[in-house]
Subunit: 312 residues, 4 copies
């Protein structure tokens, strides 16, 4: 199996977008450093209607995982107490519950420790030392980003291309992003959190999780350079694989993951439900908003559920 | 064991604060209805510095649960893949993880299904029908509230009372809330999310989770009327039990839970880390802020983890 | 939906096989009472070759559960430590692991609390009192049977009927059991643990768990009377559903479960891999053996994994 | 931290007891090879009374784990269905349950992959290749032993030394084993499964799991040679740590684990409840019996729960 670095196209982009050392050798959060207090103030200033939209899928056994990704289980929710009169008959009764789930099972962020190549994770750290079975990610764990919140911009590629949903296998290119930015009538800028809509999640919402999973439209390996040029803080989309799958180049698997997470140090969001947000943006013509999307801070996690909230 | 309704004090307050039917017989979210678009706009307008603060504890095995609450387990985080070259040697390697945890184990919201009394949950629904072993809460599940976000107000009772931390067993009274509101130089109003600081969580942060758990300062059974009078949307504090424990009245367990969750239909937050926020508010004298605190939407959940983010 | 008791066929058999009160009102283990020390001695005396055979499927993510039975998850096995030098570099390294699984996910026993009808479990106990969300089965929990061990008899129905595997939907009748007993050249007697082979598990072993699950050959609602007449202690087979599925009588679901578990108080085993045992028995012509099959004693469990071992 | 091989005492014993290559380079089960069909027949022949005794602790939240061993959680048992009328009102109702637990949380076998030293597990395999995060133990996984069953011998050291329970920290020496063998009036021979009783588990049974855990009596690093000389197949005892803890030699942690599991390839059992068995043996004077103790076959597991059954 060739390594990513065996592909010249990959090597060139990797060199171009690499952020190792940019925020110091101790940095563990990468492009999230690009969110500034000023950017947060500007994000708050985008709020006009006071409408709030959640971009999270419900967490349930009938989630998006179809068994294709080994070990990534949908939430198994069970009750540990049910109207339990802990203090005696007649007293206040309590109900409690517990869950087992893959941290990347539903609407989630990929942490920077989620992938490595050439035994390296972000900031040139050896993957075999940074990632441990006992404690998970010792560096760039998902507890490190903290309160991810800033200006969100929706790039509705499907709408910009005049379709309700991009076809399976559609490669979302920089041209697609340009077209969607045009539609959005705003310019993506430093510290923005960019949401890319393909419409693919309609398949899951319609009941077909196998079709949702694969084949999938998704981001091209040329998009990291687009994001890098604009100093984007993080990117999320509405697919299971984030990048197009099957991949663009034969034998080169997960190049976008490697470029975003390892080279740039930029978190990726997957399985975000952008449908209601897209409808709202289409209606009022405003594609920028305040976005709050802090990952659940699992110590050592390489990914985490998130409930993204857009405020317009 | 006497029922809550056997206590006259409880009955009187329950009658006073009851919200059943107020938002219609079908309502499942109670006082969250009090958050309005206008309130959200005002919340966004409080943002001045652009500082963001997370109020969530890290999710880890060494969490706040000490075993006292049966079945409420701290997060058990394990790796299902570790630098796994799924696509062959040399290819991009992935790491994945999974978790088992009590939904109310760490920084969380109590959903309206968490407690019942007299076989009733919020809005006069029979508890034994609304709560099921197989599907959890059929009504008022924690997936219903959606994007909880609005104006947050910190009532720093410890600071208002001139101490770093309220003593174990201290009953937080309406007078205490008045004093903290005075300190905050804002008036709590309809739709606010109120955060009450006791300082108790310092014990956990200092390494003593047994002392943190019990005995604990916490809210008095007279505080629901205070919140009700101001049409507060939700309340959270920095303790394990939320209300004072052991209880104020001998034999009357969890009266505040019963009044807030069942009678008013008002969510409660527990184990919120308010220390950094309190320091920030003390420094700039501003105790109101934008607060985003959507619960993880577990279908049928009676509680859920949350990563509250305050923006100032 | 008609109740089982609405069917005359069911009512008649239920009356015939009912064991409530037979071993006293406090009894929780039913027909396991029929295993006697003398029977155990006779079982030990069947051992001649010293060959040991495990009848358990491996416990793994790719187990027999295909998602059809809600919440019954295949084992999710993860490492909590991996070559971890807990005591410092160079010291002995330890590895540890954890699992989440449905107790009835793989080779298992149904406990007597697994099903109820007319709100009754075995020995006339109200199901809604005996089974609780917080503590599971307060009566007839799977920790009660203890060391299930006695004489096992293989009834190889497939072989007796001259096929390698019974066709999907084949109803295993008392005649089938008679034919298999004939083949076995032994008479089933009081205290025996009977293993009924259909061959269905070959489908799972061959990689097709959907076909394994459904439609399935299995026991007829007339077999409980056959087992009752012989005072069998327990019965297991090599299918997911134990009884034939879809059911024999339209609208009468799980009648065998109701008769065996509720009326007789007889545990049922499912997903037992009888292939190697059947080959061994066919070769030496001996179908009786020592069988050890204690359920994992989960307190309050309504089922449990088991590693049945036959010794010949 | 010195490595085990830095201690001369360890090196000498390791050389003496090493079994690498003894059953071929492909062997994964070590001393279990010593159980022969003839031995099994002899074990069956020890059965006289037909009494059966389970040596397993109940699996429950209040188990032996006190939190000292990171990630090794007591069983968390929850219901996924509770009297659920899956097929409609009135139909047969089912209850189902699920569990999350450390595989070595309760009465269990250590698999041969549980520890390594010098990056080696049993049979000279590199630990870092044999043990993986994604699939667990690729070699010597706990699914490999299969139907562990043979002659069991109880060595009741506590009784032989005239006490009900050995004191905390008592080092069980070869002399102790000799004395217990004398008491047992049988000679330990090739293929036997030896159970060593200290009485320590009385502390857990009496409600004090902290005292049970530590300090603990247990086996000396000189006992592996005793077992090796007799070609014992496996050894279990009634403590949490198996070997004496704190250790005999300052700075040499888990030497018995390293000698038994890595050098000899001999499984170890822990948390076995030997109390009832000991009473029975003392009463009839017979310390040898048929023992069935197959580990739950978790694919890739480094340990597994077991329900040991002794038949006398």
């Amino acid at each position: 199996m060739p390594a990513p670095a065996d592909f010249e196209a990959f090597r060139e982009i990797a060199e171009q977008v690499n952020n190792w050392g940019r925020w110091g050798d101790d940095d563990e959060i990468g492009t999230l450093n690009l969110i500034t207090p000023e950017g947060v103030r500007e994000a708050a200033a985008t709020v006009r209607s006071g409408r709030r939209l959640s971009l999270a899928l419900p967490l349930q056994q009938q989630g998006v995982q179809s068994g294709l990704i080994p070990g990534r289980t949908n939430p198994l929710h069970t009750m540990t107490a049910l109207n339990w009169e802990m203090f005696g008959p007649g007293a206040v009764a309590t109900s409690d519950d517990t869950v087992t789930m893959g941290l990347q099972a539903a609407t989630h962020w990929d942490g920077l420790g989620h992938v490595s190549h050439g035994n390296r994770i972000y900031n040139n750290r050896p993957a075999d030392a940074a990632l441990t079975a006992h404690e998970g990610a010792l560096r760039s764990g998902i507890e490190k980003p903290g309160p991810v919140l800033g200006r969100g911009v929706l790039l509705d590629v499907a709408r910009a291309r005049g379709v309700g949903r991009l076809p399976p296998g559609h490669v979302v290119t920089p041209d697609d992003l340009d077209a969607a930015q045009e539609l959005a009538r705003t310019r993506v800028r430093a510290g923005d959190i960019v949401l890319v809509r393909t419409g693919q999640i309609q398949l899951y919402l319609g009941g077909d999780r196998e079709a949702y999973a694969f084949p999938s439209p998704g981001l091209s390996l040329h998009t990291p350079a687009w994001f890098h040029a604009r100093d984007v803080a993080a990117v999320a989309d509405d697919t299971l694989t984030f990048e197009v799958f099957p991949p663009e180049i034969d034998g080169l698997f997960l190049p976008v993951h490697a470029l975003d997470l390892v080279e740039m140090g930029m978190m990726q969001g997957q399985n975000w439900n952008l449908e209601a947000l897209a409808a709202d943006c289409a209606e009022d013509g405003r594609y920028a908003f305040l976005l709050s999307a802090p990952p659940e801070p699992f110590t050592g996690g390489v990914g985490a559920p998130v409930v993204p909230v857009a405020v317009k």
